[in-house]
Symmetry: C2
Subunit: 345 residues, 2 copies
Amino acid sequence: MPETQRRPESRYGNRPTMKDVAARAGVGLKTVSRVVNGEPGVTPETERRVQESIDALGFRRNDSARVLRKGRTATIGLVLEDLADPFYGPLSRAVEEVARAHGALLINGSSAEDPEREQELALALCARRVDGLVVIPAGDDHRYLEPEVRAGVATVFVDRPAGRIDADCVLSDNFGGARAGVAHLVAQGHRRIGFIGDMPRIHTAAERLRGYRAAMEDAGIPVADAWMSLGATDPARVRRAAEEMLSGAAPVTAVFSGNNRVTVTVIRVLAEQVRRTALVAFDDLELADLLQPGVTVVAQDAAALGRTAAERLFRQLDGTLLAPERIELPTRLITRGSGELPPAD
Amino acid sequence: MPETQRRPESRYGNRPTMKDVAARAGVGLKTVSRVVNGEPGVTPETERRVQESIDALGFRRNDSARVLRKGRTATIGLVLEDLADPFYGPLSRAVEEVARAHGALLINGSSAEDPEREQELALALCARRVDGLVVIPAGDDHRYLEPEVRAGVATVFVDRPAGRIDADCVLSDNFGGARAGVAHLVAQGHRRIGFIGDMPRIHTAAERLRGYRAAMEDAGIPVADAWMSLGATDPARVRRAAEEMLSGAAPVTAVFSGNNRVTVTVIRVLAEQVRRTALVAFDDLELADLLQPGVTVVAQDAAALGRTAAERLFRQLDGTLLAPERIELPTRLITRGSGELPPAD
DNA sequence: CCCGCATCTGACAACGTTGTCCAGGCTCTA
DNA sequence: TAGAGCCTGGACAACGTTGTCAGATGCGGG
């Protein structure tokens, strides 16, 4: 029994290590390390021999071991809501680009709007010792991250603020954007304006609702309960909500739609109606300008959100960062027709 | 000078280790390991003490060290083209879901259609010892992965086949889909049918072009060079290409568009034309049914591609897999109006 | 009362890498 | 030619975890 310790099962399929490379090249272990890391102090001739050995064996440095030794993983984590949502694609890509510029890789996971899953994911990433974490919160209590933050994990929240923890946040001006969007409808002469949004427990949804209410109040219009749908996100329920506020004795003449997923359904419903109803939607859509009429939107810049957050993350990692801050990015009203339809009553 | 070796800079901000937990709980290191991993053989009382210690110190197991010891990372890598592309969002999400079901995390990176960057990314993932790799190829030579595959990295290619290496591939039936789409246009009476696609060096683009040619040949229609645009992907060039084939003495009466990015531009151009030109597009679009006319598409199932690839990857990891295979998923023609317009000449 | 056995616990090595430090050989100068 | 100083290379420990194995403890039976 020559081995006292059984090798763990299928350990990397027995990859060559620096030791193997060193043995083959007839040099010391550390010399190989030097070559691999481009450190100075190796003769060209030695370097050549080592390099040849590396190529011959198909050696690739084991970053797990490296990380263990160095303490930095050059990896950041991104916890988002749903990678398949067209809003998060560009955001994620922007984070990735910044990470790449800093030589880091990106691990990401979707929380599917489930706070528990968000926590599970974030902590799994911490266990892997990501250097930093960009989180799009699903839950509203992030105290579970406190030990991690104290331990030095850089953390930035995006799109929605952190709950019960003092941390950097990068947000869109949801309130201002919604307010401006609704005000735009008011300016076209609308008074009965519907709002279809997500559950108010989601911060962005709550803020947009607040913007809606503010704009209505600015205009001195009392809001009827029947004009608001909160929390219906699946197509069927959105459809029902939209149809309801479009029917009855005093139907809404305009709708403000609270996010991109709601919008696609609302557009469908409006297209089926005889009466032309105005629409302003939060979040831009790919083909919004080609519809009849074009969809007027309050656009947020998903890529900018991601970029800003990631840049801030790396500034935390540089150590050049001071107190947590809340950064709010402006939204932009893009008029394309649907928001400029006059009231049709 | 009590320490012979300086601590690496800011090593995890001095996180507690199992040793610290053990010391505080007054137990041995291994006992903590047992508790953390839920291994049997620990008295409830001891376990309680250890758990208390863990909570008090905010300990979290360092997975890097764990990986180093165990040899499996429970992480898979996904190299795709552009996370911001709406086609890859669902694909990526599907891979993530499968990974999650197997208790693995997902690292992903975008190659931006650059073979060098693809290689760099894939190898970086291998250095991190991901258990497996799902690759959407940008390049056409993947021999660089051979040592990795031999070393036991499970590998599956998606959307496009691997180059010069024998590996699992999961593809859409690009040829068949394009052929059916073009045949559909022929069936409406079109004879002058344009094709606007990506660079033929991209496999999917080449296959779709082949499908176009095949359908035309089936119909006995010789293809004019002026009807084809290959490799223009940025909006400006697509626009020019489209406008060109729509003008002149014998303009095309129908266009087959080779991918989603091309399609959005083509739709814009067609909308500006007086004459109605038919369109069938490869890849579905979010609001395709709401345009006037609705866009007839050859839809592929991005999520199914991702799911199938990831499942195959994990079957490789289970060791239940045999020879590399090429799996082709069917596409679906969805008629919505634009593809049913008759020739307008 | 002591032995044997089962159960629980801990010491130790090893995973693959990098930081430190020292040895040996070389060059250059006095 | 000897000494100082530089350059290259290697031995060794340490990073935090887990597998192995042996020691300790307690209990029941002979």
